[in-house]
Symmetry: none
Subunit: 417 residues, 2 copies
């Protein structure tokens, strides 16, 4: 096994002006750590040819692998290629497949391609081109003076795609025979980080391979299990074993692993159970349905929804009885339940959800911002309402209410299995 | 006025492992930019004496002001002081007021003070001590070989407090009489970064004060105008003047400045024009309405919407005529227009929008993923449809379609003024 030391260089004046944080370096570091590659330095440099050149020269002296993000775009500010050319004397050429892609893009958009767009299609003659399926500028891997240079676009989604599908397979090969580091993330909802940690404290303390690390994320808590073994199979066995131990204790809050989202799990369950769902959304204003529809294939199990933000829409289009609005108000358990029932019947689904509440910042019907109700109703008469009082800004409240709805629906479907 | 160039060094292995992003550097950069101090480099280095020393030596060669965050704590990993001592030969001494504070803290907590806590009280003999009211370790300002070294704790709240109340007053004095730096961001939609740059290339090239810098962001392109003047008023006049020049050429694509969003501009216009809007969303599945409702006060101008993902919902609930679906399909100009017209009438609004298309990844009705139509229809009979073919993942297509809808609605409202 060969030990590699890496440096990550972010190129872009927007980083030095503080307009964005260098989250690319953070993400790359996290991934490289998993593969057992040491990261010794991060550097950020602006769009200035001399300073980019100097940063490259310094990195060349102290790293085996240099990952450069940014500066590959079409504008005059983008000078990563020029800087590396200056220190390496390597020649650039047009990458024809990229050129074709750029031309096709402009043709499709009925927009004029300006001359500077050609810049993006240039690659080093001796490089391995990394095909960028998420954007225009391709990435490159270049060997030079016994160093590996990996050039990546600065847009996070494009960078991550190239790294996952092309850079890591390359680095793995480069490192030769090597203990496999495998990790899995277990995702939980409806439980706090400290409670989760408390429930499995002894496991966290005693486990060394795999290790167990809980982390709080903005939409719930996750546990990362990381194993180091000779083969992927052996690592998987270790992970599976610890996963079972953890789920025995906190399985009620578990909803998926790794890239699995709660909305994707919901869609899978709906398919499996041959059920459909629709929501009537006031507070969340479409955010809940949008989440479901973000999942591939959602069309078959979610025919649509009604956004009934206004009280009149709740009554006239959706059919919530006037008495309910009059007696309990629109921000009430009763209204949420009626919304769930009515949307189920209008959309002819097996499950209906209703969301109502006060997004804020002001109060409504005498109830404070952050108050809300999520109801679930099924065609066979089951019903459930949960109330909440969230703190935070208008859109934090709306996001948390959406999450609450996903949680309620997911738990309901899980209990039917 | 003296021009200062700064480098920001973050010390801490947690940064190199990707456990946290270097938000300290981002915040510091943003603040320094406002004061007109150039930041040319960020460096991140781990808790390793040799590598911290090397980073300090490199920074000394290229910056006037070096701001170091982190590595001042009580543990063995904290070695910022040791590294600077090694390159400067400056001596350390115990800072008595800090020592007293640490002792008092442990006494209050009824906890035993461990010997390593003494480490935090050490400061350089010739330094200006920055009293840390939010934590234990004091900051320091040290002059050495004509460079100013500013050592700050890594905890963001402590760091920010010291910078706001002690470091900036110091830097201001150091820079002497100083110009104000003022900047404004102009936001555009429906134009690419390269085309925008092309349209104003001569201005970018010839303007030095204010400077003009285009930047691509995920929901459009922005131009940052930055002026340097004796007073805020003079800077504003310069900015206003360049803004007018830019808008004369590309004003059609302009929608707001600084923190203004397109959705907020739309809500403002709707209020101003006493109009209301509702959308029927297939492709976008609620995302468009969600955007509008994210704006405070949206309830008064957006009563709701219909998410008609399924063809049956389009026909039965929304009322799109069967002939349209049969003759043109649901992914068609005709269907988008009918959706806009029907939602307007169901919701009784002055404007209706219809979104239909193929989110993907598969094709639909013989049309490829990424195809879509956005229609706008008003109660007085005006109608407009735009078609598009976006590339990217399912959710990229959906996001871009939502943005297209916002753009169409915004432009329509703008034209009514």
């Amino acid at each position: 096994m060969k030990q590699l030391n890496a440096e990550i260089i972010g190129v872009g004046t927007e980083l030095l002006l503080g307009q964005i944080a260098n989250t690319n370096a953070q993400w790359l570091s996290e991934q490289l750590a998993k593969y057992g590659i040491n990261v010794f330095y991060h550097t950020v440099v602006g769009d200035n040819l001399n300073r980019v050149k100097q940063s490259f020269s310094i990195a060349e002296e102290r790293a085996d692998v240099i990952i450069v993000t940014g500066g590959l775009g079409p504008t005059e500010d983008d000078m990563t290629r020029e800087a590396f050319q200056a220190i390496s004397q390597m020649e650039l050429e047009i990458h024809e497949p990229t050129m074709e892609k750029i031309k096709a893009y402009y043709a499709n958009q009925h927009r004029q391609m300006t001359p500077n767009n050609k810049k993006q299609a240039r690659v080093f003659k001796e490089c391995q081109v990394l095909d960028n399926r998420a954007g225009m500028a391709p990435g490159m891997i270049v060997s030079h003076r016994n160093r590996k240079w990996i050039f990546l676009p600065g847009v996070p989604s494009e960078m991550k795609h190239l790294v996952n599908y092309q850079v890591f397979p390359y680095l793995k090969k480069l490192m030769g025979n090597q203990d496999i580091i495998k990790s899995t993330v277990l995702k939980f909802t409806g439980i706090g980080e400290s409670q989760l940690e408390h429930e499995i404290a002894d496991l966290i303390r005693t486990q060394t391979n795999p290790t167990i690390a809980p982390l709080a994320q903005h939409n719930g808590v996750v546990i990362r299990i990381t194993a180091k073994e000779e083969t992927e199979e052996k690592a998987s066995v270790l992970i599976q074993d610890v996963k079972s131990k953890i789920l025995k204790r906190v399985g009620d809050y578990f909803y998926g692993v790794d890239q699995e989202t709660m909305e994707a799990q919901i869609i899978t369950q709906l398919f499996k159970q041959n059920k459909t769902v629709a929501a009537a959304e006031s507070l969340t204003g479409g955010m809940f349905t949008d989440k479901l529809i973000s999942v591939e294939g959602a069309s078959a199990v979610c025919p649509g929804g009604i956004i009934s933000y206004d009280a009149d829409v709740k009554q006239q289009l959706l059919g919530v009885p006037e008495e309910i609005v009059k007696e309990y108000g629109t921000v009430s358990r009763e209204c949420a339940l009626s919304m769930a029932e009515k949307v189920l019947s209008k959309m002819n689904t097996s499950i209906g959800l209703g969301f109502t509440g006060v997004a804020g910042p002001g109060e409504l019907e005498g109830k404070p911002a952050g108050t809300g109700y999520v109801a679930l109703r099924t065609s066979d008469g089951y019903e459930q309402v949960e109330s909440f009082l969230f703190s935070g800004s208008r859109n934090t409240v709306r996001r948390r209410a959406t999450l609450k709805g996903l949680e309620i629906l997911f738990k309901y479907l899980k209990a039917q299995n």
